[in-house]
Point group: C2
Chain length 304, copies 2
């Protein structure tokens, strides 16, 4: 093999896989795994001999280890480790426990969040988002709804769209949400948020909005109950094997989706949208103190 070819699918989850496989590994492999998991950054700088020595193992065994995890060779393995390290999460895969110090917790939480966003980015249903943007841009009125933690997403969306001059309505109470849903017309849009897609109130509101003829957009988990009551589904599926992180990261992903929607709507609106943003920005600035930092002022979407 003179030209590294092959499948060569990069392994962003390499460290996670090593950690997961660790228990069933032979003595030498387990040692090598330990070295990699303990100091992945160092491994990316090592040469084969250093690596094998660190685990008190022979060079061929080290190479076998790399191949065992589907890497071309040691150099390829180092690249895989380097990447997995950057992504962060897969490797911290372990749940947070009382034994973790603050630093470990921070690493896990932020790492999980960053990784989720990356994953979501690569699995977004852009066609659905495109349709959603069109619907939002043409809507006469937009009702936003969500319950529990998802109400945060609704509130955030409300602020974002409001600043764009999109006529939004937001009720935090689920009764009011339902009542508002009934008054919608075919010219209106309702946008619902739910991390699980299984919250009764949210599903009910979506159903009512749909019966009223409005275009119902939902940001939620694929194939959940809520998706069945929607015209446009923007699926946001986070990893389900990370129990603690799931709700945190899902929420961040929802907010990122809102950013994407509002940005796309703003650009769709062209100069008019840009002007609108400008006006809101100016209005907000009045609330500011003298500020030493001009960059605060440069936002295109708003600040607080």
């Amino acid at each position: 093999m003179t030209q590294s070819s092959g499948p060569a699918v990069r392994q962003p989850a390499l460290l996670a896989r090593i950690r997961a496989a660790q228990p069933g590994l032979s003595r030498s492999f387990r040692e090598l795994a330990r070295v990699v998991l303990e100091r992945p950054e160092a491994v990316t700088r090592m040469r084969l001999a250093t690596f094998s020595d660190a685990a008190q193992v022979s060079q061929p065994t080290a190479i076998r280890f790399c191949r065992h995890f589907d890497c071309e060779g040691f150099p390829g393995f180092k690249i895989g480790v380097a990447q997995a390290m950057m992504i962060g999460l897969p490797y911290v895969h372990s749940e947070i426990g009382p034994a973790d110090d603050l630093s470990a917790m921070a690493g896990k939480i932020f790492g999980a969040a960053a990784d989720t966003l990356r994953t979501i980015r690569d699995s977004l249903d852009l066609a659905a988002i495109e349709r959603a943007v069109t619907a939002i841009a043409q809507a006469r009125r937009i009702e936003l709804f969500g319950s529990g933690l998802s109400s945060v997403a609704a509130i955030d969306a409300n602020q974002k769209f409001m600043r764009l001059g999109v006529p939004t309505v937001l009720h935090l109470d689920s009764h009011l949400q339902r009542m508002a849903a009934v008054t919608l017309t075919a010219a209106d849009v309702a946008i619902g948020f739910s991390y699980t897609g299984q919250i009764r109130d949210v599903v009910r509101t979506a159903e009512l909005a749909r019966e009223s003829g409005a275009t119902v957009i939902v940001v939620t988990r694929s194939r959940s109950a809520l998706t069945r009551a929607a015209d446009i589904v923007i699926p946001v599926d986070t990893r389900e094997d990370t129990f603690i992180y799931a709700p945190m990261t899902t929420r961040l992903a929802h907010l990122a989706v809102i950013d994407l929607l509002s940005t796309a709507v703003a650009l769709r609106a062209g100069p008019k949208g840009a002007m609108m943003i400008q006006r809101v920005k100016t209005a907000v600035r009045d609330e500011w103190l003298a500020h030493e930092d001009a960059s605060d002022d440069a936002s295109g979407v708003g600040q607080g």
Copy 2:
């Protein structure tokens, strides 16, 4: 040099740097830069000869190129590229414009978000967070405040802490926030959120809370006006060179900080905290529909 040593600081912004430097590069270097920027993924798989050939350049020139960007050699350069690729954003650095299609926008927004979280993770003031956790865990009452977009952070924090059994108070109106701040005592904690740290209402509320003797914690930009009215500052500084993304990503970072705080507080509380979470989880479940997906139930913090 037999053992790769040296500064060896990894370059997560490698691709961004190459792109930025591109205009001032020599013919050969520019060719090499083009190859890297066009197909970074492929470069990580190449060997030196392939790389230099692709740019129609000699091998030593390729090595010089790697060293020019502070990499030990070609293998080190490949690792740098692999990492920069994973991070994603710095490399797409460019702002969003009308010319971007949805896919490009999604890549930029999510990429910027993931990158920011990673950066924040590495620059968190853990000591400050530690003190904040202690203060929160011991507080008799906690007032949360924020204005504008930052109110979303306050709302989110309220939900999180509430579920932990931490006695929180949240007012969305700035008048009410100030009134509540005046009633605080030395046994209480006030937590303020502001992306810029320059919002008058928020700063005023923090000052009042402090005059009342409460411990004031703020999550905001370093050295901003708000920090001067606080006992504990949790700085969240996002890149200021990405105007459009800044407010979006700052918000996500604030929410991630809330996740970290609430998780740490929950663990600090020990079994009692865990039980509390369990109880809230059960209460929330009642609002659910029949769900095909058991993993929804596994959250440790709550869902919506």
